[in-house]
């Protein structure tokens, strides 16, 4: 063999060897992951350490992003996508899927999922809910919560009342609890108000389908909800701008008798009130219908990521048995894996039961490009106007309809 031929062959062999090696093996891949926890003091450091020990070729850069009622978090993700500075992967919600789809921002996971052993530990129903309308799977389910009704069982007992099951029961209880500087219901009119508005207005007959916000039934349900503040005055006067922190603090301080949130705030609430507090599904509407918010959370890999394989290893690690349980402890939510959900004892039983009992009426927000705008701007602004008398409640419903079908 001539020297020149040998050199050519050796060069080609070296190049083909490099090309054949998986991308992450060429050096230590760094995966940037954006997350948020309701309790910002919680950190995924132990999960990161465990993953890095199992995957020495990958470094995880976990970046906590402020939630801000959801709007800060999602605005940051969309902005980073536009700027081309997005992380490799991040926690995401179903209601963002359409907008991500329009931005062509996500990497389909179907190829990765084919060979992933943990797939069967997540129920088929969850996979189905998370599937994109184009038939592809962009989301790796992570955990979930369901919005329910916290109530002060001691105060209701004193008033001789049962936990409310219907709107009528709820109003009766709210009126009975409103006295001596205590308000019956800690309404959330500020950031994230959709999860307080939805159970009463969507549960009362409104819907996100075309024309669903402007039926007589929908108008009536919304008027009923607004009247809790305007007519019956069973909510604190600060309700129009109260957000997560205010409603939870007021409930913990005993200034409200009922509040609508999810199991993520159990540690705080039980820490302050102990056995005085319990939970039930949100009340049902006059015709027996109900709606509560299915607070899903998944991980997704962004199409612009240069470390997709490494990112998949990380997000699949978080959705695998045991790790998913650890992750759920940090987020305060419920594990998505079947094996971790069995015999879940992290939260007191009564709150897990209230979550489970809420599942039949639990739905995510619509998968629509305008949903983030509805959550972040349209509903809070118009609800606040209606609650402070600056707008006819029916116009609020027209504004919501216009947002989705204008």
């Amino acid at each position: 063999m001539e020297r020149r031929t040998f050199m050519k062959l050796a060069g080609a062999a070296a190049l083909s060897f490099e090309a054949a090696m998986p991308a992450i093996a060429q050096g230590k891949a760094t995966v940037r992951w954006w997350y948020h926890y309701d309790n910002p003091q919680n950190t995924p450091a132990s999960l990161v350490a465990k993953f890095e020990a199992e995957n020495p070729d990958i470094k995880i850069q976990a970046e906590p992003i402020p939630w801000g009622g959801g709007t800060d978090y999602i605005n940051r993700i969309f902005s980073s996508l536009v700027a081309g500075n997005q992380p490799d992967c991040a926690m995401v919600r179903l209601s963002y899927l359409s907008r991500f789809g329009q931005m062509k921002a996500l990497e389909p996971l179907d190829g990765f999922l084919t060979n992933w052993k943990g797939r069967s530990d997540i129920s088929d129903d969850v996979w189905k809910i998370n599937r994109s309308p184009d038939g592809k799977q962009y989301y790796m389910p992570l955990h979930y919560v369901v919005i329910y009704l916290y109530y002060r069982q001691d105060l209701l007992q004193q008033a001789g009342l049962q936990p409310p099951k219907s709107f009528e029961d709820f109003l009766t209880a709210a009126k009975a609890l409103t006295k001596d500087g205590i308000y019956g219901y800690g309404m959330r009119g500020g950031a994230g108000c959709h999860d307080n508005w939805g159970p009463f207005v969507l549960g009362g007959g409104a819907s996100f389908d075309k024309g669903g916000m402007i039926t007589e039934k929908a108008f009536a349900a919304n008027r009923w909800f607004v009247d809790l503040a305007v007519k019956h005055k069973v909510v604190p006067p600060s309700a129009p701008t109260d957000a997560f922190r205010q409603i939870v603090d007021a409930f913990k301080a005993g200034r409200t008798g009922m509040a609508i949130h999810h199991i993520g705030s159990v540690a705080e609430v039980v820490g302050a009130l102990g056995d005085k507090v319990s939970a039930v599904p949100v009340p049902r509407g006059p015709d027996g219908g109900g709606w509560t918010y299915f607070g899903d959370e998944s991980n997704a890999i962004f199409a612009g990521s240069k470390n997709k394989e490494a990112a998949f290893r990380w997000i699949s690690f978080l959705s695998s048995a045991e790790n998913n349980a650890e992750q759920a402890k940090l987020s305060g939510q419920l594990p998505i894996t079947i094996s971790d959900a069995k015999n879940w004892t992290v939260h007191p039983k009564r709150f897990v039961e209230a979550s489970d009992a809420s599942l039949p009426i639990a739905k995510p927000l619509p998968d629509h490009v305008k949903t983030p705008d509805f959550v972040g701007r349209v509903l809070p602004t118009n609800l606040q106007r209606a609650l402070t008398g600056g707008m006819n409640p029916d116009d609020l419903m027209k504004a919501v309809e216009l947002t989705f079908y204008g």
Binding site: T71, F78, P236, P237, P240, T241, G376, P380, T381, T388
Partner: protein
């Protein structure tokens, strides 16, 4: 003039421009380019989550803004916001500067303390004042209840009638030290002989203030007011933290509205047109100031 002298003169003439050129280039890059880009976007329908539908729409975004109820609410709020805050900051800053210009034993410490609100980040100011006004736990309600001015806590930030004024108060507190420090610097340049002469002429303290102090610091005050108008008109961080623009549109100002349309709605074309309108208004104010300054220089 020989050739060497002529080229030397040209070099001398060009030197200032040479020194200014880097600054001009940087300014063009970081200010002029984004402004032109914003102007370009304002003529388009540009929704960030739908970048493939980037369409030229001419002046339609501006026409939409003029028929948008929220634009007019935000414009009115901006006018109240800027005039109220700058006036109160100037008043408070002037008073504090006059006090700090006096001689007293802890003057050094007082001068250092007064700067603290100015040194705090706006987000901290917003969070701090949000808790001060809190319905359940806020000290503002607590103080008013204790002194008997109110009989029940008031939701200061949740009522459209009080929300804007409450945020303005927070910003007045944060920004008055700027006037204090600027005016104090001006006061220290007023020649003492002027006061001695005024005193000999029989002028009392008020007349000295009116005829000596105020004319001497007028230029500084005008510049400080102009800067403050621009900063306050553009500021949105404190509002964003304290109310997010609510309740309803009660605390929406023009930059906040543009911000919300840009970052929540992702409607960059429309948000760009709102920003340009604000820029045009501010440029009008700057033009008035420059014309006034030029007039004074000619005198």
């Amino acid at each position: 003039m020989n050739k060497a002298t002529a080229s030397g003169a040209m070099l001398r003439a060009a030197t200032p421009y040479g020194f200014l050129l880097p600054a001009l280039l940087v300014t063009a890059l970081v200010i002029l380019f984004p402004v032109l880009q914003t102007a370009w976007y304002s003529l388009h329908e540009y929704v960030l989550y739908d970048p493939d539908n980037f369409r030229f729409v001419g002046l339609r975004n501006f026409a939409t803004a003029l028929s948008d109820e929220v634009f007019w609410i935000a414009l009115l709020n901006s006018a109240i916001w800027v005039s109220g805050i700058v006036f109160l900051q100037l008043l408070l800053g002037l008073g504090a500067a006059l006090l700090l210009n006096q001689s007293f034993w802890w003057r050094g410490m007082a001068r250092a303390l007064v700067i603290i609100p100015w040194a705090l980040p706006s987000v901290i100011i917003g969070l701090m004042w949000t808790w001060i006004y809190d319905f359940n736990l806020g000290v503002f309600n607590d103080i008013l209840l204790r002194i008997g001015l109110i009989s029940a806590p008031h939701p200061w930030l949740a009522q459209p009638s009080t929300a804007l004024a409450c945020i303005m108060l927070a910003l007045v507190w944060q920004g008055f030290p700027f006037f204090t420090v600027t005016i104090l610097a001006g006061l220290q340049t007023v020649p003492h002989e002027l006061y001695e002469a005024a005193e000999i002429d029989g002028a009392n303290s008020w007349r000295q203030f009116l005829h000596v102090t105020l004319p001497s610091i007028a230029g500084i005050v005008a510049t400080a007011v102009l800067l403050r108008i621009i900063w306050v008109a553009n500021s949105l961080d404190v509002i964003l933290v304290m109310t997010g623009g609510g309740p309803g549109y009660a605390t929406h100002t023009l930059p906040l509205y543009a911000f919300l349309r840009a970052y929540t709605g992702m409607e960059f074309g429309y948000a760009a047109s709102l920003s340009l309108m604000l820029t045009a208004i501010l440029l009008g104010i700057v033009w008035l100031y420059v014309r006034r300054q030029a007039g004074e220089m000619e005198r």
